[in-house]
Amino acid sequence: MTLPLLTTHNLTKTYPGVRALDGVDFDLMAGEVHVLFGENGAGKSTLISMLAGANTPSEGKIYLDHHEVAFDSVARAKAHGVYTVFQEFSLIPTLTVAENMFLGQEPRMGILIDHADMRRRAQEIFDELGFPISPTAQVSTLSRAQQQMLEISKAFHGDLKVLILDEPTASLTEREVDHLFHFIDRQKAKGVGIIYISHRMQEFKRIADRITVLRDGAKIGTVEMAGTDEAALVEMMTGRQIADIYPTIATTPGDVVLEVADLATLGIAPSSLRLRRGEVLGVAGLVGCGKSRFFRAMMGLGPRRSGTVHLNGHDITGLPTREIIRAGLYYLSPDRKHEGLDLAKTSDENLALNVVTSGAPVKRGWIDWRNVRDTVAGIATRVELPEDYRARRVSQLSGGNQQKVLFGKAFGQEADVYIFDEPTVGVDMGTRAALYLKIKALAEAGKAVIVISSDLPEAINLSHRILVFANGHVSAELPRAEASEDTVLNYFFTESEPVQ
């Protein structure tokens, strides 16, 4: 047996309060396609970010060709022949396709860039890959799929040893996927090792040699593709002990509080939805399937193409976000750093903002700060934010405590419907359990709750009803009793035309 091309030993990455990757041993053979499989947040991205040089390990070692390597930058990794195609593109929209491909390593004649040679070489690569892109086009004029193709094409020049592809087919058509797989086969034949991240199990069958499953930052196991079936993989991916962190939420549905009729937005087909008091609706789907966009459009945070939204019988369609919030629909952003919190302020100051804007402690135009302080103290207790952290700046708190502050902001004002968009992203288990109890308390107090989550067990186990999004459509609506992870996962991959 040959020795592996790339190996990791005990690779670990910790962030304050979170162990994103926990002692992973991984190996990649030359001429192999090795798939990384796992849920969002399982550690796949963390692992490849360290192999790509975008991130440095907290512990552990990486070996390439049996020599220890330390990739402190993406450029260093590239110089060793390790090339990564990230999900986020690193293209410069104002330059041409060819200029982007050869950025930093332009072919030159003397001190001048040889544009003709650059275009010719770019064209050769596109011809070989079968990608219909013109080397002279400006990148900003390309479609998303073409930009994806360009990102992939950038890997195919220079001395390539390891190619890392992070969900490369997410925006490609069947034909383009065929071209890509054809090319991957040829790279395999040349002895390139390929690490491939995808959620699409149909793809594994076609190209994978081995599969490594990650869960909660740890490696669950590595299996040969031959002789492994989908069911076994899904079990490896999701098989955690879930009973202890998800509370049982009593079902006593009351009156209809939210009614959405034929709401459509960019990339989302018209969809409808009714929600009763006391009900928790789980919304599941892959990242990018449009589940979040649909609800953001409802909140006035994205364009609305058609449809109506009624809250407590009042038409709130098309109102500005602040009036929708005042009407009683609260939205918790999935991005606490950019949309949720003011990082330079303390926890208390962040909590106080929503208390003040709710208008409750304002008398004749003056803020009654004593009243605000009391309310904030109550909220901090309610979300179990440790006393010591209340006067700390939010930037210094762990992800879990930041998320508690974000939850606390939701309690600064009264609402009838709470939309929690990815409520536990980057949050440790203990805090997750605490936050789930807050959701339970809200529902049992007669509020309606919507939990949008890319974490499938979370979306299923908290809810009374599940809505599944795929490709911009609602692909299923299931009562809790019928929603096993396997059933719901099937609806993730429903083939349908993407909505424009």
């Binding site: 500005p320 952003s333 003011d342 929503n354 003040v356 208008g359 803020i367 210094q396």
Partner: protein
Amino acid sequence: MSDATAAAQVTPRANPIKTLFIRVGVLPFFLGIALVVFSFMSDKFLTGQNLMNVARQSVYLVLVSLGQMLVLVSGGFDLSVGTAIALTSVASALSMTWAAGVFDSVFLIIATGILAGGCVALIVGLINGVGVAYFEVSPFIMTLGVSSVGAGLALFMTGGIPISGLPIAFGDTFGFGKWFGVPVPVFIAVICIVVMWLMMSRTTLGTRIYAVGGNIKAAHLSAIDTKKTLVLAYVLCSLIAALTGVLLTARVESGEANLGGTMALESIAACVIAGVSLRGGIGRVQNVVLGAFFIVMVQNGMNIARVSSYMQMVLLGSLLILAVIFDQMRYRMIMRGA
């Protein structure tokens, strides 16, 4: 997560100088250095009479800096405050000379002038605010453009010649008068400081401005009308500049298109030195008052020490850059958790 590791990370280091720096910024250090240096350079500097003098001279910059602070806290900045002063001066002087031929009452003539100045500033502030908030022009370009437009208009209206013939009572009251034994400009500035302090700390408008500058998306999701808040910040800034314009016009007893030329730079310097963050969201009224006082004190000290006015410009610019460098250091310390 482990509470022990998190607690270890946020344990404050007990360095009093660092703590003071993080709390209030670079101002106390600058103020201390200036006091020591100028007392050595001239024994006339640290006298009660000279410091009173500084206080009187600093009124105008204090006022403009208060307005500038609103805009800085909201996450932008206003380069057109000087122009707002010049336009106010010209507009109020022109309308007073016009009103002198219409009304007999001096009170009505002065009121017309002040009203005209206020209206012009209101328009300047609205244009700035609407451009920044609704058309999403960067504050730099928006206020720089308005600054040029306004300066051009002011010069065009006057032909570059000061407008004289203002009511004598105007200069006597707002330029040199006293109310309750306090010079009128000082009296007005104190009222403005108190009002501004109350507004920023006790009203929802103040809270909204802090929130918009701190994280505009989070503010939007906290049911705040971010666009209206931004417009209000620019309008209030312009109106305070207009008030300064009226006071300065009374002081020089004529309408001049070149009043307030250095105010934009000086007011931004005063705010930044006083710990107002250029990223928005952070800044205190009382510190800004001290910051403006500091700038005027440095100018006064240099005058006494006979430093040429050209070299004073060099020093002021350097101070501004230094203050920004310290602001960056402070911000990093805040975010890292010191």
